[in-house]
Amino acid sequence: MIKNVKEVKGKDFNIKRSAAEDRELSFNDDICIGCGICENTCPVGAIEIAAIGNLSRNYFTTDFSGHRKIAQNMDKIPTGVKITINEDKCVLCGMCSGLCPADALDLKIAGESIKDLDSYPTYNKSVDFDEDECILCERCETACPREAITVKRELPNRADLVTGEIDVDKDTCINCGICEELCPAEAIDVTKEPGSEDIVIDKNKCVYCLVCKKACPVDAIKAVCRSCSYGEYDFDPEKAVTTGNIIVDKESCINCGWCEGVCPTDAAKVSKAFEGTFEIDQDKCGQCGACIDTCPCNALYFPKSQKSGDMLPTLEIREEYCIHCGACEKLCPNEALTVKRTKINATATNSKAWQDAINALKN
């Protein structure tokens, strides 16, 4: 008798069937966006999605001196797994894995993910950074709602960007420390203790702003900025370049397009699995914000008024960042949201059943 074995590790789990071939379906709760496509797709009805709206609400996580009634419910914040799979029903066909838009589910056959097997269809979604165009501004890192982007950059040496001369006449200097306090580059170190008075200027830090020279009550500092006096004749532009690279965690990335949207140099390019439309019924929306908390793409938001007395819509969407996963539609308690998928970008498959499952994502 062939039996599936389930292994649970925290919120993650995997289901294994080892017979003629080894099949292993694994679920990663952190990556799951709660869209429910797996539940609708599963041909044997083995998957059940939890109350995602409840799980993804942003709760206070630190102690606060609020109302006692609220405080006593602090320990009742729901913490659950987003989906459950009945291992006795699951046949490890991998449809949930193939159609998961976030790759939170992954079926491996003989150790190889079906996403790497040609016979299985995969979404044509991608994120690419043109390193030649990228100026390492970190805007994408800040905008990414999944914290999937890390910009590693090395700044130019500050001493290479300025040029000048500075010197202090220690006989004149009274070690008052005014220059030390003023120096914006923290390049001056003054020792005031009687007997061991001293002043040291770090020329690697000094930017020749001349603030110290101007403020010195005894005119002990002689300094000149060469750029100001003679122009940038001895400035090497190559030394002024910021170098580095971008690391994208493709596991967390959901191809929402924020990086492409905020990139000032068109270095980021994103293509999405689904195309479609998004509608908000403003009359039905109850402004609970569950959709905003759940949206993995940070595409939904409450608009802010610019001036008092503004009449605003209840909820707005930045549709260019929506991936049409449908998580918000599923959890909205007022049925105010309608997500329609009109096109699925996926590779072809010979299997009619899989083709039908992909087409069924359109609605």
Binding site: I2, R17, A19, A20, E21, R23, P43, V44, V91, L92, C93, G94, M95, I109, S119, Y120, T349, N350, S351, K352, A353, W354, A357
Partner: protein, 158 residues
């Protein structure tokens, strides 16, 4: 006891193959036994007739029961396949519907290892299919139909 029944099945197989015109050496190679044993079998020696009667009854069981007992007796895939194919009464043709999702459960269930997945669809090898219907019963999407075809042809050497 299971040993005697296994030998009796081999005895019945020997008689059957001899009638089909195979040489003693061919039979010995097929059944993985000594040529002298084949000779003994054909001369009706060294066997318990009770066991042979029992083995005869086994061959009359339905395909699934006979397959399960053969599996229990022989364990090794090649030996199971040899015995099952010698006593196979019909040819079977597997029809796989478009609704197949490629879960591979049938591949895992098939004792004869007659099923493989090709382009996300199950493919049933008629040569090894013994009509036990385990795949048809186990298929989660009811995509498999096993059809019976009469077999008048003599078994060909594989």
């Amino acid at each position: 006891m299971p040993k005697h029944i296994a030998s009796s099945l081999k005895y019945l197989a020997t008689i059957k193959l001899r009638k089909q015109g195979f040489s003693q050496q061919q039979i010995a190679d097929d059944l993985d036994i000594d040529r002298s044993t084949v000779s003994h079998y054909l001369n009706g020696r060294n066997l318990s007739w009770n066991s042979i009667e029992f083995a005869k009854t086994l061959t009359k069981l339905n395909n699934k029961d006979f397959l399960l007992i053969t599996q229990a007796l022989f364990k090794d895939l090649d030996k199971i396949r040899t015995i099952i194919l010698i006593f196979k009464k019909n040819e079977y043709k597997g029809i796989v519907d478009d609704s197949c999702i490629g879960c591979g459960l049938c591949v895992d269930l098939c004792i004869m290892e007659a099923i493989s997945l090709n382009a996300l669809t199950a493919q049933i090898n008629s040569f090894y299919c013994c009509g036990c219907l385990t795949c048809e019963e186990g298929c989660p999407t009811n995509s498999i139909k096993i059809l019976e075809e009469n077999n008048d042809q003599k078994r060909e050497r594989s």
